[in-house]
Amino acid sequence: MSIKDYECVIGLEVHIELKTRHKLFCQCATTFGSPPNTQVCPVCLAMPGSLPALNREVVEFAIRAGIATHCTIAHRSSFDRKNYFYPDLPKAYQVTQNFFPICKDGYVEITSGDQTKKIRINRIHMEEDAGKLIHLPGEGTLIDCNRCGVPLIEVVSEPDLRSGEEAVAYLRKLRAMARYTGISDGKMNEGSLRCDVNLSIRKKGQTELGTRVELKNINSFNFVARAIESEFKRQVALIEEGGSLVQETRRFDEKTGQTYSMRKKEAADYRYFHDPDLVPVEIEAQEIETVRACIPRLAHERKAGYMEAYQLSDYEADRLTDDKELSDFFEEAVGATAYPKTLVNVILADVAPLYTEDSPGPALNPLSLGRLADLIAEEKINSNTGRKVLKALMEEDFDPEAYIEEHDLAQINDRQLLAPAVERSISANQKAVDDYLKGKESALRSLMGGIMKETGGRANPILAESMIREALKDR
């Protein structure tokens, strides 16, 4: 049997740090990157007698996440204690929602290849973050408690994902959800979006799940995909050799691209029980509706709208809405052009790649890009020139039309103006001419290159090509 006979079964546990102003149970600030232990108080340091007071803003954020992922919002949920010792956890228990989470039974739709697929969400619960340990080799360990008590939601998916690619598509959707709803920046490199992968394999056609391995501490989308593929291969190879899997936690090493065992999963007993310092979270139907009304249009809504309004493909609309900033950018730009299709092509080819995990996108005036799309669509400039102008627009904003005039970049659409350049290209590239005449189509490229060189890249490429063919037709 080969790897093709196996199926990879993946569920994700995604932690999203909420950007509420205050911590979950105290008034401390949540600013990222402040000097160590400057955002702490007796409550988040677990000093004797300190008591938690729920920050209601967190509940509102969790409701937003639940609505955006089609979950049922529980009218009554409650907090529990997860008891364990670790130096980054001053109370020696984490307050979380084990028994009655705030959101249940939702889904997220992902597009992978041409297919859309529903990934079911088992639950979303609220909990508090732990602090950070800073290990100084040879000197010891320092504890920064600024993050202690910062609110998180944990989104737990069903094991509906089948590949690294799907896992990343799902993560992108969750990140988009977080950004569209304004609950988090969703930055993996700053830890405001963290992902644990639960992975098992089984023979295709089987329905029961295999032994589950947990992959922890993966800090980019790219590494999530690579870790999954690598672990999938490792498990298949092990089974094929007649070995058997153990339930364990593994770590992905970015340098080697391999996963390594961190610890065998001894059945950790967290002694969960209801937190007696807190009362149940009651949510009225009216509150849910109020939150719903305040949520901006979400990715899936925008996507459907784009497909309808601009006749975009599923893929195009999906890519445009993947990132809220990009989608916002598109919505502004599209108002400035009469040619949305052209605009989408330009955006997807040259602008979308600049919206990365860690970048909010280029400094680019969307209205200028809209006007640039007009110039391209109306054949006032060709796409090569368009790219050059776009590059310049990212340096400094200007009116594209005035710019092409000033820099003499307008496309040459006139046969007469183009004819000398065609002549000169043909006479200067005898070898290409010979090749073309022998039937080598690719030789056209050299001839086109000659024309572009002659015209400073301004030739209408379609026109130029037909003129070459015409000129060589009778030879």
Binding site: P48, G49, F273, P276, V279
Partner: protein
């Protein structure tokens, strides 16, 4: 000046009239402390300088003609599990022996704003776990009525301080009886208020769902006065509800009427009650009958279940709230520790006492995956049954009268098994009110032939503190306060 036989309101009046200065009163209290504390051992930390400073301030304000709150200038004590900013708060544990909190407990803030004079931080059982104050890591406390005997616990230091005149009143905390039992053994009035009436914020958590703060005083009226001061809603304690109706002091003035008092005779007599205790309670019942009350026999079938449920639930919650004392962030860290594991193991092994460790282990067991259903869940269900039974009884009764303890104070060093029953059964009468969250008042009913105080417990429905005080005051008005504890011979 005999401040010991004066009620708080009388002291307040004397201060207002300037027939007594706050400094004189405070110095008199410290005078007694100087003479007796070496024997009694009521305090872990004395705050003499602060007290005199506070007293002088009150005198100054009074001189300026200001009208001050009723507790202004009156020396009182706080149990040492109540955070006092800048003053060490040890919880009677080696673990926290040097801990100086950077914050105030809510109750201390209220009392401070009322210009109370803080005498010191009273001894207690370590982390409030115990019932004789012998588990304190510092020293035992002796019962002022018989210094060979325990003052009870866990608020034994608070009780001994008031009973010996080393404070005019004190606050204690009560999880399973830690105010009521030492109050009874030291001849004081001790109130465990309705859960949520007094904020727990800044009072070291033993078991969150059970802990309550309350006053320990010589007289019923004193008690009502202090409770009125601290029964204030705290927005940062989600369980805090504050006082709904009028003040307890006001409800003391209401008519006695014809209250119905439940008497769970079967449950009371099923426990080996000391004959003196039993006789005094019978007499108390007859007294109430003579005053127009109706004594209604009631059944408290859940009293044994309450004992088991209490120890499981309080230990489970205690386990979780005690784990923060891990040698990492504050408190004791073993100097022998080299690795992280050693910090945990050695710090906790060295700095926590046996009683605390036992409860942590019990709670750890009750919450473990394999035992959660059979222990924790079952105990939680039993708690509901206790609550329901009390609810039912209170449909017919205004109050339930029981003993506080089966016996008067026992000699220091008595082994638990020598107390009769098992280690914890002496607590059984105080536990139902703890589990149900209902108020319960411990009131002295007299001294035994040996001169040891005996108390009765009056339980009521939630927020019926005023009614309980009224019942107690009727008894006290008729019998007078019990005699003061004898002078301690050094």
């Amino acid at each position: 000046m005999d401040y010991r036989s004066m009620e708080l309101s009388q002291l307040a009046q004397a201060l207002r009239k300037r027939s007594l200065s706050a400094r004189e009163l405070t110095e008199a209290v410290f005078d007694r402390i100087d003479r007796q504390e070496a024997v009694i051992g009521a305090y872990i930390t004395l705050t003499r300088d602060l007290a005199l400073e506070q007293a002088d301030r009150v005198d100054r304000l009074l001189q300026e003609g200001l009208v001050l709150p009723p507790l202004a200038g009156i020396p009182g004590a706080l149990k040492d599990n109540m955070a006092t900013r800048g003053i060490r708060t040890t919880n009677a544990s080696r673990m926290m022996a040097d801990f100086i909190p950077p914050y105030d407990s809510f109750v201390w803030r209220l009392l401070r704003q009322q210009e109370m004079v803080l005498v010191g931080k009273a001894n207690m059982d370590e982390f409030a776990m115990g019932h004789s104050t012998e588990t304190s890591a510092f020293h035992p406390t002796r019962n002022p009525y018989d210094v060979t005997r325990v003052p009870g616990g866990s608020s034994g230091g608070s009780a001994a301080a008031v009973a010996s005149g080393q404070a005019c009143f004190a606050l204690g905390s009560d999880t399973g009886g830690s105010i009521r039992q030492p109050a009874a053994l030291c001849g004081l009035v001790g109130m465990r208020p309705t859960y949520g009436l007094v904020s727990r914020r800044g009072v070291t958590t033993f078991a969150s769902s059970l802990d309550q703060v309350g006053p320990m005083t010589r007289s019923v009226r004193d008690n009502a006065l202090v409770l009125d001061t601290i029964a204030v809603k705290d927005k940062k304690d989600v369980h805090s509800r504050g006082r709904g109706g009028g003040s307890c002091a006001d409800s003391l003035e209401e008519a006695f009427g014809q209250p119905v008092i439940g008497w769970p005779e079967e449950a009371v007599l099923a426990n080996d009650l000391d004959p003196a205790v039993q006789a005094m309670l019978q007499e108390t019942l007859r007294f109430y009958e003579s005053q127009g009350a109706r004594i209604l026999p009631v059944k408290m079938k859940t009293i044994d279940a309450a004992l088991a449920a209490y120890y499981i639930l309080s230990s489970a919650e205690g386990f979780s709230s005690m784990n923060r004392y891990d040698g990492i962030h504050y408190g004791y860290r073993s100097p022998d520790a080299e690795s992280l594991e050693e910090i945990y193991f050695l710090s906790r092994s060295q700095a926590l006492g046996t009683e605390v460790k036992e409860r942590i282990l019990l709670g750890c067991f009750a919450l473990s995956e394999d035992h959660y259903q059979d222990y924790y869940m079952k105990a939680a269900q039993a708690r509901m049954l206790v609550k329901e039974e009390l609810d039912r009884i209170f449909q017919d009764c205004h109050a339930i009268l029981t003993p506080v303890t089966a016996t008067p104070a026992w000699p220091l060093g008595t082994l638990p098994e020598e107390l009769g029953g098992d280690k914890y059964s002496n607590d059984r009468f105080t536990l139902p009110a703890s589990l149900a969250g209902t108020p319960a008042l411990s009131v002295p009913v007299g001294l035994t032939g040996q001169g040891l105080p005996v108390g009765m417990q009056l339980m009521g429905k939630p927020f019926s503190e005023g009614l309980l005080y009224r019942l107690a005051a009727r008894f006290e008005d008729e019998h007078g306060m019990i005699p003061l504890a004898p002078e301690v011979a050094l």
